[in-house]
């Protein structure tokens, strides 16, 4: 074999944090080449993609609205991923959380109360936690693989949603179309800036970022999470309760996803529809890794990822580009991130393995 990867003896810590930036820069440069080949002015295209969407107040508000679920879920997932607990089913937890909160809004449709929104948020968190508790129980009790169970439960969650909007929760005056009635005013999250959709959900996302950061870097649990992820044997010798951490990380990530779901529903949509989320639970996995599994990193990664969606709108509206550019952008971003991560951990060597000779020297 001519090319091979050789593990670096030491991984540069600054490079680990620099690699997302390198990936972003490489993505932009490659995109510019792509635009030039398509016959579009590359500078204008990049400006349309990254600057135009956030050049207005409404645009900035929309960026935050779009980033809210990504950040919320991303922070929760990052904690679990650090402990080697792979919750891939945040999408399902989001849906069940949304249903738990949204169901409350429908149940108290005729009541207006200042307690309705807080109750919805709490029940959203509980709903998401309950859905994540199933993989947690299966893993701690039967040692099942949480990647599979949490992922499969996503499809169960989707079917529950589909059943409810086609059946019992269908708008009675909705001509049989699969969506619930519009929520009452008092079931909607308060708007922060008039004439935009920026709502209290954004503040909750910021709060979760701070809480996540405190937990991981200042609390003993965060320390345990990191140790168990990096050295499971050492954690066991130290007497950390592994099962408890599995439960904890799954419940936290499930609760965050459930909260994201209910915020999306009562903040941005205002009714229960058959497709609450365009895959936030899955996109948040990319966000978590792009953010280096650190709550603050996740915050910026969430904003960046949200920007690629908004940029896609602008590219279509202002420059008549196809929707596929969004996918190309996100794909390149992930590709360059993984590629730079590999090169940070390994170096490329040409020629056959020469360890023997090096030792002899």
């Amino acid at each position: 074999m001519l090319l091979r990867l050789e593990q670096r003896p030491e991984v540069s810590k600054s490079m680990v944090y620099a690699s997302p930036l390198i990936a972003v820069v490489l993505t932009i440069l490659t995109a510019m080449v792509m635009f030039a080949l398509l016959g579009v002015d590359p500078v204008k295209a990049i400006a349309t993609f990254f600057i135009e969407p956030i050049s207005t107040l409404d645009g900035l508000a929309e960026l935050c609205v779009k980033a809210t679920p990504l950040i919320l879920i991303g922070v929760g997932l990052a904690l679990g991923f650090q402990a080697n607990v792979w919750n891939i089913g945040a999408e399902g937890q989001l849906i069940i959380g949304a249903l738990a909160g949204g169901g409350l809004a429908l149940a108290f449709y005729d009541h207006s109360s200042i307690f309705l929104v807080p109750a919805m948020l709490v029940s959203g968190v509980i709903g998401g936690m309950a859905w994540a508790a199933i993989p947690a129980w299966l893993k701690t009790r039967y040692n099942t693989n949480e990647i599979l169970t949490s992922l499969m439960l996503t499809y169960v969650g989707l079917l529950v949603l589909s059943y409810l909007v086609h059946g019992p929760w269908k708008d009675p005056e909705g001509q049989n179309f699969p969506e619930s009635r519009l929520f009452h005013e008092s079931a909607l999250l308060p708007i922060l800036i008039d004439e935009t959709r920026l709502n209290v959900g954004w503040l909750l996302a910021l709060l979760v970022v701070v809480a996540g950061w405190l937990l991981i870097s200042r609390h003993i649990i965060g320390f345990q999470i990191k140790v168990i992820g990096m050295a499971p044997m050492a954690a066991r010798f130290a007497g950390f309760k592994e099962k408890r951490l599995i439960w904890l990380t799954l419940l936290i990530s499930g609760g965050c996803a459930g909260l994201a779901g209910v915020i999306e529903l009562s903040g941005a949509i205002g009714q229960i529809v058959p497709s609450i989320s365009p895959g936030y639970g899955f996109t948040a996995i990319i966000v978590a890794f792009l953010g280096r599994l650190h709550p603050v990193g996740v915050f910026f990664a969430g904003l960046l990822m949200a920007l690629t969606y908004l940029g896609g709108d602008s590219a279509q509206i202002t420059m008549n580009m196809p929707n596929a550019v969004i996918g190309v952008f996100q794909g390149m971003l992930l590709f360059f991130l993984l590629a730079s991560d590999v090169l940070i951990r390994y170096r490329v060597r040409i020629g056959p393995h020469k360890v023997q000779a090096e030792v002899a020297e």
């Binding site: 059943y163 049989n176 179309f177 529809v273 969606y309 602008s314 279509q316 929707n323």
Partner: protein, 359 residues
């Protein structure tokens, strides 16, 4: 003096810029929001054909914009708002799930005109709704498939159990039954409008269960392609799909939005636009039949054409009594025709259709 001339120049430039910007505002900008990719060769493709026809007809008098694959959730409101706030005077939102987002945006932008396809809410005076009587096409197709099937079994790939889809299944069955009393219709629900993989799997299952004509109420040509491969017939959806299966493609029910889009755009331009609820069929040209396959015998083509002409003339109505539902209850009494309200909310299978509507 020098300063003065400079100021004068600036003022002139400002006036010029202002003049240009008002000129730009007078320019007609039409936005389209699609739920799927324009390359689906079905629902979204046909709306986009309408956009292209609009561009061709009005040339430089109109600028068009389209945004594809817009999910029917929080994204829809964002995209519609963005179009409304970037100078679009007329916005067509072409999927049912955009109903509430469209009405929200209409309330916020009273000067922009909105047209929502397949919905029923018109909460502000600047929102109209429009849809096509696709069931008329299904009724014509029913005559053909009823005659063409050897196994007396029609396979039907269905999306979601909403009135629109149920109406299509009923119209097909009633029509096919009228020419073939032994007809059976098998329905597979795929819970998606566009997923070529799922649609193809459903078609395969239906063929394995004995269906030799595949119909679909989903947007991709995948079921037709499966039919072509397996040597059975199929009916195209939304657009003329014959290039995806020349032998299988009996005909297709074509959604022809172009005349409506042109008329409504002109109406906005000359100020005659008014809120309305449009439900057009063969008569107005919003629904059309694609060319018939040469494998269809001439007398069957004549039967189909007579049906189509009868619908246009008003002598034939797909839902004319007596029509019972599966439980045997009379829904449309003998001699009566279903009114638009009953058809718009149709949530029952007619007697003879097997299976139950998923809840």
């Amino acid at each position: 003096m020098h300063l003065k001339s400079k100021l004068g120049g600036a003022a002139a430039a400002a006036v010029l810029a202002f003049g240009l910007s008002t000129a730009a505002q007078a320019q007609m900008k039409v936005g389209f929001v699609y739920v799927g990719p324009i390359g689906d060769h079905g629902w979204n493709y046909q709306h986009h054909q309408g956009l292209l026809a609009l561009k061709k007809a009005l040339g430089s008098k109109v600028t068009t914009t389209h945004v594809e694959k817009v999910a029917e959730n929080a994204d829809a409101t964002r995209v519609i708002t963005k179009l409304a706030s970037t100078g679009h005077n007329l916005i067509f939102t072409t999927s049912f799930g955009y109903m509430n987002p469209t009405n929200k945006a209409a309330k916020r932008f009273p000067k922009v005109t909105f047209e929502h396809a397949t919905g029923y809410k018109r909460l502000s005076p600047n929102v109209s709704t429009y849809s096509a009587r696709f069931y008329e096409g299904r009724y014509v197709v029913g005559k053909i498939v009823g005659k063409m099937t050897k196994t007396n079994t029609i396979g039907y790939v269905a999306s979601f159990p909403i009135p629109e889809v149920i109406r299509g299944i009923n119209a097909t069955y009633l029509s096919a039954k009228s020419v073939n009393p032994k007809i059976k219709i098998k329905v597979v629900w795929v819970s998606t409008w566009y997923d070529p993989g799922k649609e193809a799997d459903a078609a395969k299952t239906l063929i394995d269960q004995g269906a030799d004509v595949i119909m679909q109420h989903t947007d991709s040509p995948a079921p037709l392609q499966v039919a072509e491969k397996r040597g059975v017939y199929a009916v195209g959806q939304a657009s003329d799909m014959r290039n995806f299966g020349k032998k299988a493609h009996l005909t297709a029910i074509v959604n022809n939005w172009a005349p409506y889009y042109l008329a409504r755009t002109k109406a906005v331009m000359d100020g005659s636009w008014k809120q309305q609820d449009t439900w057009h069929g063969f008569k107005e040209g919003m629904v059309k039949m694609a060319p018939y396959n040469s494998a269809i015998p001439a007398e069957v083509v004549k039967l189909a054409e007579d049906t189509r002409k009868g619908i246009i003339a008003g002598t034939i109505h797909p839902f004319e009594g007596e029509i019972r539902d599966q439980s045997g209850k009379i829904r449309i009494p003998a001699g009566k025709r279903a009114d638009d309200g009953l058809m718009a909310g149709m949530n029952f299978y007619v007697q003879g259709v097997d299976g139950t509507i998923p809840k």
